[in-house]
């Protein structure tokens, strides 16, 4: 079966700056995808392109195997619904908001009312039909926006930072709703978020964006700097405070990232083939549920993720001196 979306050599530029540059991306039907990245990474731009609201500057998008340039954009837009960050509700009742898209499509009043009720029930807002949109909380607004999108029976739901203005309880509710839509209605869900935990909790696959490009992993331990030494099989990257060895993959490198789970923590220096080993002190310990994240000051503050058991076995506390070791191949350069 052809994938739902296939992007080939997609770029989006404004004037001289390129905000998105994606050589290749596949989105399969029926999945839940996360798009992660810091502010300005191009998440919203990618969503707008996937929603057919923004044409790419160059490249080709295939929808179910067919080049979208050969298809009617207006028809395609009906299959994909984007819920923007801080969704806008029209200044009227909840029900009129939900049925807006149906009215546009000329659906009869009776059918509209039935659909509104079904969609509001789906997002847990049954009985809210006659409420005015401006009376709702952030979480309720988000759910009405989802119900409004659902009313159109979309194949794909795109959400831009859906939990940005929602309290903790609302976040759980929303994530439950998105899972339900995916499982029960087989809607493909694509969520842009900068909450790494949400991305892992909710999605089957996470697409990391950094500076408009797809990156291999989430951007943690992100450092800016430049290459100071180029050998055939090894580069040395200088952050201004420390020097880190990495595998040469590209000529020009301005940033590196080191995944916290790829870093080994020990109380003694260890003999390994890993090219990067530093000694430092623990400056912060954060409970992350099953794991614990440590900030180790090695000149730069390095985030490291270990299990609670390791923490107890090594008797690590704030200020403990530790060694951190990671392979040059763990370092992502771009």
């Amino acid at each position: 079966m052809d994938p739902l979306f296939a992007l080939r050599d997609i770029t989006k530029s404004y004037d001289d700056s390129t905000v998105l540059d994606i050589p290749h991306l596949i989105i399969q039907q029926g999945g839940i995808y996360g798009i992660m990245g810091p502010n300005g990474a191009g998440k919203s731009t990618l969503l707008s392109i996937l929603a057919f609201l923004l044409p790419p500057t160059s490249g080709t998008i295939y929808w179910e195997g067919v080049d979208v340039d050969t298809r009617d954009k207006h028809q395609l837009r009906k299959k994909v619904t984007l819920i923007i960050q801080n969704p806008y509700l029209f200044h009227t009742t909840v029900e009129k908001n939900v049925v807006y898209g149906l009215k546009v499509r000329g659906i009869t009043k009776a059918k509209r009312a039935a659909k509104a009720q079904a969609c509001l029930t789906m997002v847990g807002l049954s009985g809210f039909e006659k409420r005015m949109a401006y009376e709702l909380s952030g979480g309720e607004t988000q759910r009405v926006a989802i119900a409004r999108a659902l009313a159109l029976d979309p194949q794909v739901l795109l959400l831009d930072e859906p939990t940005a203005n929602v309290d903790r309880h609302g976040v759980e509710q929303l994530e439950g709703i998105l899972r339900k839509l995916n499982e029960e209605l087989q809607i493909t869900v694509i969520v842009a978020t900068h909450d790494i935990n949400q991305a892992y909790r909710l999605t089957n696959e996470v697409i990391y964006l950094f500076d408009g490009k797809i990156a291999r992993s989430p951007m943690e331990n992100l450092f800016k700097g430049h290459i100071v030494k180029k050998d055939k099989d090894l580069f040395l990257f200088d952050t201004g405070r420390i020097q880190i060895a990495l595998i040469p993959e590209r000529d020009h490198v301005s940033h590196i990232a080191i995944p916290p789970q790829d870093i080994i923590v020990s109380i003694e220096p260890i003999a390994t083939s890993a090219r990067n080993s530093f000694v430092g002190k623990i400056s912060q310990v954060t409970d992350e549920g099953e794991a614990v994240s440590l900030l180790v000051d090695i000149g730069e503050r390095l985030k490291v993720r270990i299990t609670k058991r390791s923490l107890q076995e090594m008797r690590l506390t704030l200020g403990s001196p530790v060694y951190v070791t990671f392979k040059s191949s763990s370092v992502e350069a771009f």
Binding site: L53, H74, I84, Y88, F90, Y100, R105, L152
Partner: protein, 230 residues
């Protein structure tokens, strides 16, 4: 002082007793201004919407032009219209001079720039998400435009009220192209000017009170809708 109090007393009596002459004048005033405002809205709202939502050369100059027209002197509009409608003017044969129609045209010219300028600022102040949301829900260009206008309805109502407020209170145009003919083109403002000159102080004052009341009502409504847009 006795002169002033006497005038006020008589004016109140004229209003309370629903004096036919007073009310005929008031109703004619309202009718002419409402019709003029209606036409000005039909032209001004779409025009303001198109100007604010489209990019075209000299857009800023066009907006400045409409803002300048806000302070168009009513007498100048009257003079301009008089020259067009008078017997020797290009539209003389239509016989419109000194008719209510001429007054409606004059007030239309005065009200339209206000409605255009306030519509432009209302649409520019609109949340851009309104348009985007309508589009993502599958609305075409016309439906999207109607939705944006509907979302701006309070600000647009305020624009229409401001237009009406300008024309109900103006005297220059009505006097010059209406001619202040009793029972035909005599409205509140022109009647006040004439009756005061004649020494019919009480009659002028009674119309003055009513005009003030209308102006107050307009201001209250204007601020009500201005506040609601937020």
């Amino acid at each position: 002082m006795e002169y002033l109090w006497g005038g006020i007393r008589e004016a109140v009596i004229l209003i309370i007793s629903l004096d036919a002459e007073v009310f005929r004048t008031v109703l004619l005033s309202l009718r002419i201004s409402l019709i003029a405002t209606l036409f000005a809205s039909i032209v001004g709202i779409p025009l303001g919407f198109l100007i604010s939502t489209h990019a075209f050369p000299l857009k800023r100059s066009v907006i400045t032009f409409f803002n300048t027209l806000l302070s168009l002197p009513t007498v100048v509009v009257g003079l301009f219209l008089y020259s067009l409608l008078s017997k020797k003017g290009p539209f003389g044969p239509l016989g419109l001079l000194f008719t209510p129609t001429a007054m409606v045209i004059g007030q239309f010219i005065l009200a339209t720039p206000i409605i255009v300028a306030l519509t432009i600022s209302a649409i520019q102040a609109m949340d851009p998400r309104a348009k985007m949301t309508a589009m993502t829900l599958g609305a075409g260009a016309v439906r999207t435009a109607l939705t944006v206008l509907s979302e701006a309805r309070f600000a647009l109502t305020a624009a229409v009220i401001a237009g009406f407020g300008r024309v109900i209170a103006e005297v220059g145009t009505a006097m010059m192209v209406g001619g202040n003919i009793k029972g035909y083109t005599r409205i509140m403002t022109t009647a006040i000017a004439l009756e005061t000159a004649k020494g019919e102080f009480a009659f002028a004052l009674s119309l003055g009170f009513i005009l003030l009341a209308v102006a107050f009502a307009i201001n209250i409504l204007f601020h009500y809708f201005q506040a609601k847009r937020g």
